[in-house]
């Protein structure tokens, strides 16, 4: 970057900002509290004061350390980090992007009159100094905006993940057989929802077997295991037996080391094994069409053909 575009704040302004920082802080806070976009439900006066004080202090210190240099100077790292942090907090709290940027940019309204007072009579210098200070503030404002948006995107991504995790579909795969694919995190609230959904579907469909598939669960801790045991017990009271499927090798080993005892629960490695077992439990079996016609040819089934076969044999 050519040096001409750098903000080079003069030593006099650096000194001025440092010497009068308490005054700047007080006017700034007063201005913020009186402004229309101050929302006391989002930030307390105390917190606003603390944050603003830190910004003014850090700004004065960074300017002194860097000799009035550009915002890219390492002396501003602390201030930049702090601005990042408060804009992240503001994104979480639900500030609008403009409220967030206005906060920093409003420092201009406080500092410019002080500069005007100090450089009275020297308009040329005053304009130059105002220009440099404004540029610095703009950079600070941009940091706030950029990080605000980044934080918001992070929140959206997190919420999307949460929503996915919160869905608990109970699927009827066969007459009297339900499956419950569990994906993601199984916290207490979700475990409760899942159990309720499962029990309701057991009643609605008259199912006697439920397959709980945990292929999508990456971490099985004692709480999750506890929830599963409770779900299985509740289902059993409703007259349905549960089959746990999709236990990965690493989860199996971890559970053994944790000391979780699931011997009470019927388990199968794969969902398909679970379905096969569930069908057996309701007295059904999946056989290939070839095997079926072979059985028929040998007179095993169905009864109608059996009679015919018996006749020809006799």
């Amino acid at each position: 970057m050519p040096s001409s575009t750098k903000t080079q704040i003069s030593g006099r302004v650096v000194e001025l900002l440092s010497a009068r920082r308490d005054e700047i802080l007080n006017i700034w806070i007063k201005e913020r509290l009186e402004s229309e976009d101050f929302r006391d439900e989002l930030i307390s006066k105390h917190e606003l004061r603390q944050q603003s004080q830190q910004i003014v202090e850090m700004l004065a210190r960074a300017l002194q350390e860097s000799d009035g240099s550009d915002f890219d100077h390492p002396s501003f790292d602390e201030l930049r980090g702090f601005l990042n942090e408060i804009s992240r907090q503001r994104a979480v709290k639900g500030y609008t992007p403009s409220e967030n940027a206005t906060y920093i940019l409003s420092l201009r309204n406080v500092v410019l009159p002080i500069l005007a007072e100090d450089f009275e009579g020297d308009t040329v210098t005053l304009v130059r100094e105002m220009d440099h200070f404004t540029r610095l503030l703009d950079r600070m404002g941009l940091v706030m905006v950029e990080n605000f948006i980044r934080s918001r995107e992070e929140i959206i991504r997190q919420q999307r993940a949460d929503m996915l995790e919160l869905s608990t579909p109970v699927i009827k795969v066969w007459d009297k057989i339900l499956t419950l694919p569990i994906i993601g995190t199984l916290d207490s609230r979700r475990a409760q929802m899942m159990t309720e959904a499962l029990l309701q579907r057991i009643v609605d469909t008259g199912s006697t077997v439920a397959i709980l598939d945990i292929t999508g669960v990456r971490t099985m801790d004692t709480l999750v295991a506890n929830h599963l045991i409770k779900t299985v017990t509740a289902a059993r009271l409703m007259g349905a037996r549960c089959i746990l499927t999709g236990v990965s090798p690493s989860i199996a080993q971890t559970m053994v080391q944790l000391g979780i005892d699931l011997t009470e629960i019927t388990t199968r490695a794969q969902m398909s094994d679970g379905i096969r077992l569930a069908l057996e439990m309701i007295g059904r079996k999946v056989v290939s069409a070839a095997a079926l016609s072979h059985l028929r040819a040998n007179g095993a089934t169905p009864p109608a053909q059996k009679t015919e076969q018996t006749k020809s044999e006799s």
Binding site: T219, M220, T254, G259
Partner: protein, 132 residues
């Protein structure tokens, strides 16, 4: 790799802590089974903090063994009321809540090193290390 500190206040923070610990375990080159072990330990101990102390933090930092092996150290800290009877809490099946009572003893079995300090004044600090 830099250490990470994660604040633990809500159920959601447990999910975050577990994710961060797993990501660090992956980056350090832990096998899948060890990633799962570390994520499980993070889940157990982070939940203890949220459940019993209300708030605290976990610090995840890369570690190096005297024999040169790399590892991951997890430090769980809170300033809650402490664990009155550590010896009992470390026993299988002991729980003051309504859990399975396997959280602490289970976590010890999942880690290579396990250290617990607790007092009513200073809260609880659990340090676990697993080497690659």
């Amino acid at each position: 790799m830099e250490s990470r500190a994660i604040t633990l206040e809500s159920e959601h923070d447990i999910v975050v802590a577990r994710g961060e610990v797993r990501a660090m375990a992956v980056a350090l080159g832990f096998r899948l089974i060890d990633q799962t072990r570390l994520a499980t330990v993070a889940s157990e101990l982070a939940r203890n903090i949220v459940k019993y102390a209300g708030r605290g933090q976990v610090i995840a930092q890369p570690a190096r063994h005297a024999d040169g092996r790399e590892g991951l150290r997890l430090i769980f800290e809170d300033s809650g009321g402490g664990i009155p009877n550590i010896e009992a809490a470390m026993r299988d099946g002991f729980s003051t809540g309504r859990g399975l009572g396997q959280g602490l003893p289970g976590s010890r079995r999942l880690a290579h090193e396990f250290e617990i300090e607790s007092s009513a004044e200073r809260g609880t600090r659990v340090t676990v290390v697993r080497w690659i």
